[in-house]
Symmetry: C2
Subunit: 164 residues, 2 copies
Amino acid sequence: MAQPKVQNGGTEKAMTEAVKFTALKPQLTVEAPKAVDAVQFYKTAFGAVLTGRTTHPKRKAEQELPLILSAQLELAGTTILVSDIADDSAAPAKTGGTGVVLCLETEDVEAAIANAIKAGAVAEGDVAEGEDACGGGRVGKVKDPYGFVWEISSPAKNCADVEA
Amino acid sequence: MAQPKVQNGGTEKAMTEAVKFTALKPQLTVEAPKAVDAVQFYKTAFGAVLTGRTTHPKRKAEQELPLILSAQLELAGTTILVSDIADDSAAPAKTGGTGVVLCLETEDVEAAIANAIKAGAVAEGDVAEGEDACGGGRVGKVKDPYGFVWEISSPAKNCADVEA
């Protein structure tokens, strides 16, 4: 069955390309190296279950503790991520170490970011190949007009390195 | 089939009463009265779908616009809430109007809050009958040791007043 070609204009939706998002995960960022403790807290306080964890590649020889790039927790049927703040973190510095980044996953990162910018968001850096928040693949960030940071990435692979 | 009585102690989990959470919804709080615009932005930018909305009861005669207590959006299979900041908002004032509150729903609000406090969270006010974030029923708040605010409430009823 042939699909009729959609004309640009005529509906409000026409300004953005249709992008399917497969997951939305709130990422809680904490001052390094508190992520390990925070994960334990969410397990104890709320019964969250750790389902994946990735650590930052060691960039400084003097670092004793591995920084948590992303610990993935399941809570109330939802996935949340807990991350140590690092230099390349998406968390806004103004929150003093504590912040929430909204991680959206899609196969079409560039189109999703273009749509957000058309709607009024501001790009934070370039889209790049990266490994962030269990994502990997393409990763980009935008700040929306209300101050929230959205990280848009390729769908997460399974996180390795689960210990507890 | 009789359940064996669980002895207190012996496992790390035993310190907290088992509480089942039925939903976790990130609540994005914005400076009033921007919530209406923010909802429109998330619809345009990400294709979010508005599935419910409640407004604050009008408390000041001079208020022209109804404040959004909670607009419920579906995005990537997840529910997010968008709310205007009001006097009784859970959002931390320090973020200057923009913040994220993590809303957890459970039938057992008191036990959930007691568990969180035992684990190291700090109560923010008392548990009360309230109408907040589409919740209704019992509502309480805690701040965790990492600075995040969790609102724990009875499961949300359907939000009325959907316009667009």
